[in-house]
Structures are given as structure tokens and as C-alpha cells.
């Protein structure tokens, strides 16, 4: 048992803290005020890339993707979690807007062929400019019920023809490519799913609509359509053999899960920001002597602390390749609730100051709600847990 954070991670946390105070938080507040995502040509992104951000985890060497080998100490999920919490502390929306392959990277690394990694991830090894990748699973008619996606993929000679609509994909309109999930036969459920890399400018990839959101405005959540969108067969992630092995969906659903705790810890970061701001306000306004206020602060803090430990433990299991489905879902179910509680308490403590709509806590209160929706809603996490705990049936 050890809860110390190693020196290397600490040093990187210091870096984020400095960048967070000087750039990330101000940028998040600006985007929120202006009600638009930070534009891709913003000099901030250029500076980030020059400073070494926006890169892929993929090293470029074929061995690097062999299972078990990429779990170096520095690149551990635990370390990533610490950094993610700190980023989200300063601004979760800005953190998602950072250049990089984003959520499209994991399927490429775990399922992609060497050629595909070369084509789509190599540009992110030493990016010449800010570049983004994107990931589009959700559709207007299918979110939690992933098996129900309707976007279709039909083979035609050396191409696949994609048709359908995708919703809320982060950074999609600015991305070099989008990992799009579609089905070859919607009656097959998950077994019919295929993942494609759809490159920017492909005819038929169109109707980009940057959504207007309650919070997290600093990054774009974009809906778009695929109208007879013709994608070369070489862009089917993993190639047809991969799906012949029936590994299709399972490629994304292993017995360990590293992204749920990662999203969960971001909620902890948002909650911690809200709690700090609330405590500052309470101190400045002589509210800390009020037992009602203090008790509620205590509870909010305790819930965030236990949520953080749940995240850490799930990530620790993932780092050792141990099953963590239950633990990952626990963290993802607990953290957003704890964080919302902290932000909502913050609103009560600042009172009508929160009603003005221009206070950091008010923004965090809006931002944090998304955390219980993305990467599996709170209810979906409970379904996953129930499958583990009581073999809850899928149908």
C-alpha cells in the first residue's frame, strides 16, 4: 500500500499547475463568456505543440504496441490520472480541446494495423502543427445502447460506403480524421460493428454542426452526417481479418478499462476546483465559522477523496493488467456525483453571486454535469456493475 505520487509525476503536475493558472483557466473562462469553442487557429494550440503537447502515445516502433509492453512506469494509468485531474482542475473543456489524436487513439493502437498506425498516428509523433483526431460512436438515436447504432457500412469494390448521422463527437470538425463506428448489419448488434478512419475532406463527410452546450464550451462537440461517404478499404481499422475473429467490439471492451477512471478523475478535478473556490469564498465572507457550511464542505471533500481513491485503484488494476471492470465502473459512477455535489454546494454557498452567471463556481456547476453522461452514463455504470455483481442479464 502506497499513496505517494512519484517525483516524475509530481514534476509534471507542477508544470500543469503553472500552465493551468496562466493559460488554461483564463482560456476556459473566455470560451465560456464568448459561448464558442477556442478556434483551432488560436495561438495557444501552436504554443502547446511547440512545448511538446499534442502527441501520440504510440512510439512509432512496431513492438511498442505489443500487449503488456507499453505499461512503462511513466506512462502508467496512475500517472495519467494524476495529470488528468490537475488539467481538469484548471479547465476540463480546455483539456479536451488540446491537440492530439484524442479518443481515436485507443482503437488505433489496440486494433489498428501497422500501416494504419503509420498513416494516422505517425503525424502525431512530432506534429508540425496542431492536429486533432476524433471519435464518433454516438448517434441521434443511439447513445447508451451502443449496439443500436444505425450508421451503415457497405462494401463496394475497394471501398466502403458509409451512411448515417453521428452526434456530439469531440473536435470532429477540426480533426485530420475521425474514427467512425458503423454497422454492416444492424441486426447483428455489436458483431456487426466496424470502425473506420474517415479522413478530413472525404466527400460525403459533411453537415458539421458545432453543438451549443450548457458547459464545457471550450471544446467543440460536433454532429455530422455521412452521405454516401466513400472510404478506402485500407481505412477499416484492423482490416477485415480483425472482425472475422469476432474481436470487433471486444477490441474496445476488455476485461480492464482505463478510460472510465480517467474520465472519472476529471470529474474529481472539476469538483476540487469548485471546492477550493467555495472555501475561498467562505473564508473571505466569514462563513467558515458556520457549522452548516463547514459540515457540508466536509462531506463534499470526503466524497471527492473517496472518489479519487476509487479512480486510483481502478487505474492501478489496469496498470497490472488485472480485471477492473467493476472498479472502473464504481469510480465512474461515484466521481461525477461527488463533483456535482461539490459544485452545487458551491452555488448555495455563494448564493446570489452564483445567480449572476459570471462566477467560476457557476461555470463549474454547468461543466460538471456532462461527466455523469459521457463515457457511459451513471445508469450504464450501474448496469455494468450489476452484471458483475448479480449477473444482471443484458436483455
Amino acid at each position: 500500500m502506497n499513496l505517494f505520487i512519484d517525483d516524475e509525476t509530481r514534476a509534471r503536475l507542477e508544470g500543469i499547475r503553472a500552465l493551468g493558472a496562466s493559460e488554461i483557466r483564463p482560456l476556459g473562462l473566455e470560451a465560456d463568456r464568448l459561448g464558442r469553442p477556442t478556434p483551432p487557429e488560436h495561438p495557444f494550440f501552436e504554443r502547446l505543440v511547440k512545448g511538446g503537447q499534442g502527441r501520440t502515445r504510440w512510439s512509432g516502433a512496431p513492438e511498442a504496441s505489443a500487449p503488456g509492453e507499453r505499461r512503462s512506469k511513466v506512462g502508467s494509468s496512475r500517472s495519467t490520472l494524476c495529470l488528468a485531474e490537475e488539467m481538469a482542475y484548471w479547465d476540463r473543456g480546455v483539456a479536451v480541446s488540446f491537440p492530439g489524436p484524442g479518443l481515436g487513439e485507443p482503437p488505433l493502437i489496440s486494433m489498428g494495423t501497422e500501416d494504419q498506425k503509420q498513416r494516422f498516428l505517425a503525424p502525431f509523433i512530432e506534429p508540425d502543427r496542431p492536429r486533432w483526431g476524433s471519435f464518433a460512436m454516438t448517434e441521434p438515436g443511439a447513445g447508451s445502447d451502443v449496439a443500436g447504432i444505425q450508421a451503415s457500412a457497405q462494401k463496394e469494390g475497394g471501398n466502403w460506403i458509409l451512411n448515417g448521422a453521428k452526434s456530439f463527437a469531440a473536435n470532429a470538425s477540426r480533426a485530420d480524421w475521425i474514427v467512425v463506428w458503423a454497422t454492416v448489419d444492424s441486426s447483428l448488434g455489436r458483431e456487426g460493428h466496424r470502425a473506420f478512419v474517415v479522413e478530413k475532406g472525404t466527400p460525403g463527410l459533411e453537415d458539421f454542426q458545432v453543438e451549443r452546450k450548457m458547459g464545457l464550451k471550450a471544446y467543440e462537440s460536433t454532429s455530422f452526417r455521412l452521405n454516401d461517404c466513400r472510404v478506402p478499404a485500407a481505412n477499416l481499422i484492423g482490416g477485415e481479418e480483425h472482425y472475422a475473429r469476432k474481436a470487433g467490439f471486444k477490441g474496445a471492451m476488455r476485461s480492464f478499462n482505463a478510460t472510465r477512471p480517467l474520465v472519472a478523475i476529471m470529474a474529481v478535478g472539476i469538483g476540487r476546483a469548485a471546492l477550493d473556490a467555495t472555501t475561498d469564498f467562505a473564508r473571505e465572507n466569514d462563513l467558515l465559522c458556520d457549522i452548516r457550511v463547514r459540515d457540508r464542505l466536509e462531506r463534499a471533500r470526503r466524497k471527492l477523496r473517496s472518489a479519487r481513491l476509487l479512480c486510483w485503484r481502478a487505474a492501478w488494476l489496469a496498470d497490472y493488467g488485472r480485471p477492473n471492470i467493476l472498479e472502473a465502473s464504481m469510480s465512474k459512477a461515484a466521481a461525477p456525483t461527488a463533483a456535482l455535489e461539490a459544485a452545487s454546494l458551491g452555488m448555495e454557498v455563494i448564493g446570489t453571486v452564483g445567480g449572476r452567471g459570471d462566477h467560476l463556481i457557476e461555470k463549474l456547476f454547468r461543466d460538471v454535469k456532462a461527466m455523469d453522461i459521457v463515457e457511459g452514463t451513471g445508469q450504464v455504470q450501474r448496469l455494468v456493475m450489476a452484471r458483475q455483481l448479480v449477473q444482471f442479464p443484458r436483455n
Partner: protein
């Protein structure tokens, strides 16, 4: 770096405790409750294994284990019977004031004699804020009463408050009360009739640390109660059929079961954090109070829901869930209860600048 591995030694300690509890405590749970005592065999073995002085200063083969080891053992014992866990430890949480104020010498003086007579106990009584004790000092004597302690007789009482610890012997009357729970350990109102203070120490820091460690001790017992309530009700929900399927496969109960599992895990991780802090020599008062609070709050969630999952059957004493509900609640009343713990958990707050939730980089 962050690591939740317990290691072979602790796993072995945990397994030993689990086996002992399965074989010697759980089967007799209801009999012990009505007898207000345990069988002699259970005591004998408990001492032989070395559990009686697990966290005491090392003495030959026994003792010398840390807060985390003790927490693991207490969870296992309490999962079978928290009253028995209290009854079995000769010092229980009374170890901490003795250790913090009087050091090894005091532990040996007041603890050692207990080891040789089964059932002999010294009991910690919190008489500070929230303890509901009404005591008056008359020089070296104390008069008054304490509404409830989970014991029928004791060798000595260790009275702890915010600034001092006192060892009291003689001049004590134990009036048996029914006890809401933990009856295997007994249940009494204690009347102090000029009871004699045989030792007294002063010191705020020592008192704070003793209380913190005692809170972790009680929190660990609550973990066991919660775990058993979760397991028992979950298994029942898989067996019991209503509306054509196991009740666990109705979403309302499936989600509740998932939330109960998460609640237990949250409480356990905070307890482990506190134990780790103690074992590592970090400041732990606030972490122990936090662990106690979370355990108390989650026990209050899990206990009653454990009963709810069994419906009417849960209310009947043929099943143990009603016992878990009572006993979890009873444990959380000790040591000044939740309000006193809340005060402690937030004590530093007024002084800290920013970063109320310990900042990541400064977890120490």
C-alpha cells in the same frame, strides 16, 4: 507510486482472520448475542493466533503489526460478529490512549495481565464532546454515569477526552442494559461512585492521536458489518424470485446493490488511506476522522438497505441483516459519534489557503 498491493504478509494476516471468523465466530453469532459472551474456545484460539495483541509493541512472536494489518483483521472479525470482535480484544481501542500517553510501559502494565484470563477487557470510553457522559471529578475520584458501553464487566476503563486520559478501577457499577447491538460484548450503563483514578496523563496531541486511532479501529469494524450486509443481501437477491425473475434482476434492486458495493469500497479506501498514513508516520487525525465519518454514513445507507432487500424476511431475526443494521448504527455512536468527527475532519480548514481537497502533489 500509488499502489494498493497489500503484500503477502498482510494477505496472510487477512486470510488467517477470515478463516478464524468463519470457523469460530459466524456459526455462533446468534448464541453469542443472547449469551452476551463467547465460547472459551474462541478466546483461546484468538490469543494463540496472536490477534489479542496484534498492534501492541512487539513482544516476542506477537505484536508489532501496523494499523493497516489491524484494520484488515477487524474487518474480517466484524464481518462475522462485531460484538465478538469487541469482546475478543483485551484492550481493543483502549490500546491507543495507553500507547500514546504511557507508551509501551503502560500497555504492558494494564494490558499484559488481561492476556491470561479469557474475557478480561479494558474498555475505552470517550468522555469528551459528544460522548453523552455525565461525570464529575473529585480529586482522584470520578462520579457520574455513562449511558452505554458495549461490555458487561471490565478490568478497567480508560477515560479519554480532548486533553487527558485516565485509568479508572473500582467504584464502578455496571447496570446491564439490553443494548441496541454488539451484545456479544455485553451492554451496560456504567455508574461511577467515586471511582478511583489509578493513572492520569495530560496532553492534547496525545489525546488527538489516540482518538484518531480509535476512530480507525471503529471504522474498520463498520467495514466488516457493511461487507457482510452487502454479501448477504446480494446472495438473497439472487435466490429470491418475484415477478418471474430473481429480484436482483429488477433494475431498482440491481442498481441499489451496485451502489451498496460502491459505498463499501469508498469507506474501505478511506480507511486504508488513514491506516497507510498512520503506518507511514504521516499526520492522520483528519484522515481517521474522515474514515470514521464515511464508514458511519455508508453503514447507515447499507444497513437499512440490507434489510430492505430481504423485505419482510429482513425484519425477522431468522436472518442476520437486521443485526447488521443495528450493530452498524451502534458502532457509529462510539467515540463522540459523527458530529465530533466532522469537527475534527474540518479542523484544519479555517487555516488552509486554497486546495481544500489535498492537492495531488502534496498528498503527504
Amino acid at each position: 507510486m500509488i499502489d494498493f498491493e497489500l503484500g503477502d504478509e498482510l494477505e496472510l494476516v487477512r486470510k488467517t482472520a477470515r478463516d478464524y471468523a468463519d470457523d469460530h465466530l459466524r456459526p455462533g453469532m446468534r448464541e453469542n448475542e443472547s449469551a452476551r459472551s463467547l465460547g472459551a474456545k474462541a478466546w483461546e484460539l484468538f490469543g494463540e493466533i496472536g490477534f489479542a495483541c496484534l498492534e501492541w509493541p512487539e513482544r516476542g512472536e506477537a505484536g508489532g503489526l501496523g494499523a493497516l494489518a489491524h484494520s484488515l483483521v477487524l474487518e474480517e472479525l466484524a464481518a462475522a460478529d462485531p460484538g465478538a470482535a469487541l469482546a475478543l480484544e483485551p484492550l481493543g481501542a483502549a490500546l491507543y490512549p495507553l500507547l500514546e500517553f504511557g507508551g509501551e510501559e503502560a500497555v504492558l502494565r494494564y494490558g499484559e495481565p488481561l492476556l491470561t484470563s479469557p474475557g478480561a477487557r479494558s474498555v475505552l470510553v470517550w468522555v469528551g464532546a459528544g460522548g453523552r457522559a455525565s461525570l464529575a471529578d473529585q480529586g482522584k475520584r470520578v462520579s457520574g454515569s455513562v449511558p452505554w458501553i458495549p461490555a458487561d464487566r471490565v478490568d478497567s476503563l480508560i477515560l479519554l477526552d480532548e486533553t487527558r486520559a485516565r485509568v479508572v478501577r473500582g467504584g464502578l457499577e455496571f447496570r446491564r442494559v439490553r443494548g441496541s447491538g454488539l451484545r456479544a460484548a455485553g451492554a451496560s450503563e456504567v455508574i461511577f461512585e467515586g471511582a478511583e483514578v489509578v493513572a492520569e496523563w495530560e496532553g492534547e496531541d496525545e489525546a488527538r492521536r489516540a482518538l484518531a486511532r480509535a476512530r480507525l479501529h471503529t471504522a474498520s469494524l463498520m467495514l466488516g458489518v457493511m461487507r457482510e450486509a452487502c454479501d448477504y443481501s446480494r446472495n438473497y437477491a439472487l435466490d429470491r424470485v418475484a415477478f418471474g425473475r430473481p429480484i436482483a434482476h429488477h433494475q431498482a434492486l440491481a442498481f441499489l446493490i451496485a451502489d451498496m458495493a460502491t459505498a463499501l469500497e469508498s469507506a474501505r479506501l478511506l480507511a486504508w488511506e488513514a491506516a497507510w498514513r498512520l503506518d507511514t508516520g504521516l499526520r492522520a487525525d483528519e484522515a481517521c476522522a474522515t474514515a470514521f465519518l464515511e464508514a458511519a454514513e455508508q453503514t447507515a445507507f447499507i444497513g437499512p438497505n440490507g434489510v430492505q432487500i430481504l423485505g419482510g424476511h429482513g425484519f425477522m431475526q431468522d436472518h442476520p441483516v437486521e443485526k447488521f443494521m443495528r450493530e452498524g448504527r451502534s458502532l457509529s455512536l462510539l467515540l463522540g459519534g459523527v458530529d465530533t468527527a466532522r469537527e475534527c475532519a474540518m479542523r484544519e480548514l479555517a487555516g488552509t489557503a486554497g486546495d481544500v481537497l489535498l492537492p495531488l502533489g502534496d498528498l503527504s
